[in-house]
């Protein structure tokens, strides 16, 4: 039978993680489904489990003010429901959470679990890409902070070391004036995305001063292209419209979907590009 650790605090959790490489457990909505077993039997997991969902150090949301408005530091054990109730949660992240699963899941599941699970179809993680979030990792050597796009390296893989835990998600101040979230799935609740688009922008005086576009479930990792975003940033909204064909050509090269049980590659490519076009052509006002 596997060991189950319920550490007193974060430092004990990090010691256990370093000593045993135990699997972190937050809300369990990915982990316990993955290792699901027959009713009445224990999950089929053969490594020690380290519960972190109760740790006070990971349960807080801090508003990190700076000159351009409130950013957020979201503890790794904060649930989706708690984020929906928090006044400074950016609208785009809110939009992605409202369509994620159902209340019973949102009451236990976490952003950290969504990120560490590293699915290209992860909906909240997709919003975090668009918002340029960073993750904070803690290990025996101290803490480090890296952009989410560098943390996730492939389907189910991250740069998290066997002795580290994800401790928080850092969000820069959200100054966007336009948010565009589209999740394409079979039904509203409890359906994984066929694909999704998370986009936001700041438009001031008919000029796009900041833009973030992330596309989920169309490549091995969520697609975010800072180079294309830079080409669009600073342009007037009419100018952006004239740049659409070029932007779509570039996104077309990054979008490499697969056929699976949820959808086909052709459908995903077509709809993803159409949604990007819709955002650039009609939503930037």
């Amino acid at each position: 039978m596997v060991d189950f650790h319920r550490p007193r605090d974060l430092s004990e959790a990090l010691q256990i993680r370093a000593a045993t490489a135990a699997v972190p457990l937050a809300g369990g909505t990915d982990l316990l489904v993955r290792y699901r077993n027959w009713a009445g039997t224990l999950p089929r997991i053969d490594r020690p489990v380290l519960y972190v969902g109760h740790l006070a150090e990971l349960r807080s949301v801090d508003v990190a003010g700076n000159g351009s408005g409130p950013g957020m530091i979201i503890g790794a054990a904060v649930t989706y429901s708690e984020l929906l109730e928090h006044p400074t949660t950016p609208q785009l992240l809110r939009d992605s959470i409202i369509e994620l699963a159902a209340p019973g899941l949102r009451n236990v599941a976490t952003l950290a679990g969504n990120i560490c699970n590293a699915s290209p179809a992860a909906d909240a993680a997709c919003a975090l890409y668009a918002l340029n979030a960073e993750v904070e990792l803690a290990g025996p050597g101290g803490r480090r902070r890296i952009p989410i796009a560098e943390f996730i390296t492939g389907p189910g893989t991250t740069v998290l070391k066997a002795d580290e835990l994800l401790t928080a998600v850092h969000l820069p101040p959200d100054r966007s004036t336009v948010q565009y979230y589209r999740k394409v799935g079979t039904r509203h609740a409890n359906a994984l995305s066929k694909l999704s688009l998370c986009a936001c922008a700041r438009v001031a005086d008919r000029r796009v001063t900041q833009i973030g576009i992330a596309v989920g479930a169309v490549a091995p990792t969520i697609v975010k292209a800072p180079r294309i975003e830079q080409q669009l940033q600073g342009a007037g909204i009419e100018q952006v419209v004239s740049q659409i064909p070029d932007a779509l050509r570039q996104y077309g090269q990054l979008i490499r979907p697969i056929d699976d049980q949820r959808s086909t590659a052709d459908y995903r490519r077509h709809v993803a590009l159409a949604l990007i076009e819709q955002f650039l052509a009609r939503e930037l006002r």
Partner: protein, 157 residues
């Protein structure tokens, strides 16, 4: 083996089940709370809904080790209250119960909703039961049943 302590329908209890045991198994097999139903066993259908610290959760994808110190309410705990009776009457009047398998989970979702929002509109009701599947009714009667429960139990939540 270590003990897990929690509150179940108002009473302090404990279990020596392995901490990775599914909460649904502990509730059904050890505490005989058979109102907690198993449908999918993977978080999708809501048949196993209970309240944990006042919020709806799926007992099939929680391990008992995650429950230490929590306050749990099962359909049995809710059924015995005035609010539970208002929910039952609302559902019965609306003809919202067919085979009945989803019902205990629906009642828990209804209780969770009405605690937060005693006068929900149709969209709010549908969002609140979005994690609870019913293969019989087509949901319209359930939505109606929840509206009736809210009216009948007005002032209770």
């Amino acid at each position: 083996m270590r003990e897990t302590r929690f509150t179940l329908n108002g009473k302090p209890v404990s279990t020596n089940a392995h901490p990775m045991t599914r909460l649904i198994d502990v509730l059904r097999d050890e505490f005989r709370m058979t109102g907690v139903k198993e449908g999918c066993g993977e978080g999708e259908c809501g048949a196993c809904s209970i309240l944990k610290d006042g919020r709806i959760v799926n007992a099939c994808i929680l391990a008992i080790g995650m429950i230490e110190g929590c306050v749990l309410e099962t359909p049995e705990g809710i059924a015995g209250t005035d609010r539970g009776r208002a929910i039952n009457e609302g559902y019965a009047e609306a003809g919202a119960v067919q085979c009945g398998f989803c019902m205990t989970g629906m009642a828990v979702a209804t209780e969770a909703l009405l605690r937060q929002n005693p006068v929900p509109d149709e969209d709010e009701i549908r969002a609140a039961i979005s994690g609870n599947l019913c293969r019989c009714t087509g949901y319209a009667m359930i939505v109606d049943g929840i509206k009736r429960a809210a009216t009948k139990g007005s002032g209770l939540w």
